[in-house]
Symmetry: C2
Subunit: 190 residues, 2 copies
DNA sequence: TATAGAAGTCAACATTCATTGACTTTTTGG
DNA sequence: CCAAAAAGTCAATGAATGTTGACTTCTATA
């Protein structure tokens, strides 16, 4: 019917960038509307409010089908994505968005649940094997931590290195995470 | 002189908890004052404003001298702290506070700089050895990521495990981080 | 006890925020 | 061409924020 889809798309684009860079609470609808060159009132009209707009951006954030593909090794998928500066920038933005909003009192629960349902649960099934739950948690921990240290904290040891060095660091940690074996025999003495 | 030190202390205590749990921007001075049973105006009077109060809480956040002590192994210090549920709760709160505020447009720069100056720079010197910068970054990444996955994301594989299991997971990742050796020979094939 | 200064209280301020309703412009359909 | 619906504009509202200044109460000292 209407041609308001363009307006909706502009709003979602501006909202995505704003929410990802500054977090939900620190982003004002007026700013989003200004960037999108759209009146503020249309946000409440089209998306029902700030929360509705955020939900609309969330659905597209966690779209990473290759990670769960049974044909590919998740480790290689991750390394490949992080080694390429272009895709790494996008992926790091997604992680930053998770980190910034996972504790927000208004949208934290939504972010955590969406992440678990759309990414982590399928990934756990994909990883499989014994203690898949444990190794998945360590896997995610490494990815989150590495992205934070690299982009947010900007430690030189990970932020000011060549892409292939960063890829090697990441591979080292990811493999360590997935190779964790918690057996009663205590293979690696502690 | 005055007896206002009690009021200052109550404000700092309430502010620390509030800032650490909800982040800087999502915390209102009125809430802090209410928790501390103190009038709001005294915050601006004693600390100059919201930012001043936040700075006051920051100075005590990064106090962890054992981590840099030349007598102790940083790995053991970390594991010991994380394995004990009591000290782990505090440490995890500190990390959550870092994560929540490191990207804040108002206090992010302050948090990052303070963290680097008071903790990371000395820790890098303590670690030493070749590629200390790289290994430090990986070390921090593991700690940040693990804490986030455990407390913030609450993945069962790290959040619903016995403390000693969590300690083993953490030791596994930390040692992998510090044992990273980026040589041209490419020791560990991928 | 009287008094100066600290400590604490209260109300108001200017801003910013999300949201709403009435209004105007544009596009569509007969 | 014209009415009806969609799309967009504008102003206002109520709530919440940090901050300020005037006021009152307490406390220590002479």
């Amino acid at each position: 019917m209407g041609n308001s889809d363009i307006t909706r798309a502009k709003l979602i684009a501006a909202a995505t960038q704003a929410f990802w860079e500054q977090g939900y609470s620190n982003t004002s609808l007026r700013r989003i509307a200004q960037v999108a060159s759209v009146d503020v009132a249309l946000i409440s009209r089209y998306f029902g409010g700030k929360l509705g707009l955020f939900k609309a951006t969330l659905t597209t954030a966690f779209d990473w089908p290759e990670l769960i593909s049974p044909d590919k090794d998740p480790v290689e998928v991750v390394i490949e994505k992080y080694a390429n500066p272009e895709s790494d920038a996008h992926q790091t933005s997604v992680i930053r968005m998770i980190v910034m909003n996972a504790n927000d009192p208004q949208v934290g629960e939504l972010v955590r649940q969406t992440l678990r349902h759309t990414v982590l649960d399928p990934l756990e099934a994909r990883i499989g094997g014994p203690q898949a739950s444990n190794r998945l948690a360590m896997f995610v921990a490494v990815l989150l931590g590495a992205s934070m240290v690299r982009q947010s904290l900007q430690l030189p040891g990970m932020a000011a290195v060549e892409p292939d060095v960063y890829a090697r660091q990441l591979r080292h940690l990811v493999e360590a995470a997935l190779h964790f074996d918690e057996g009663p025999g205590g293979r690696e003495q502690g």
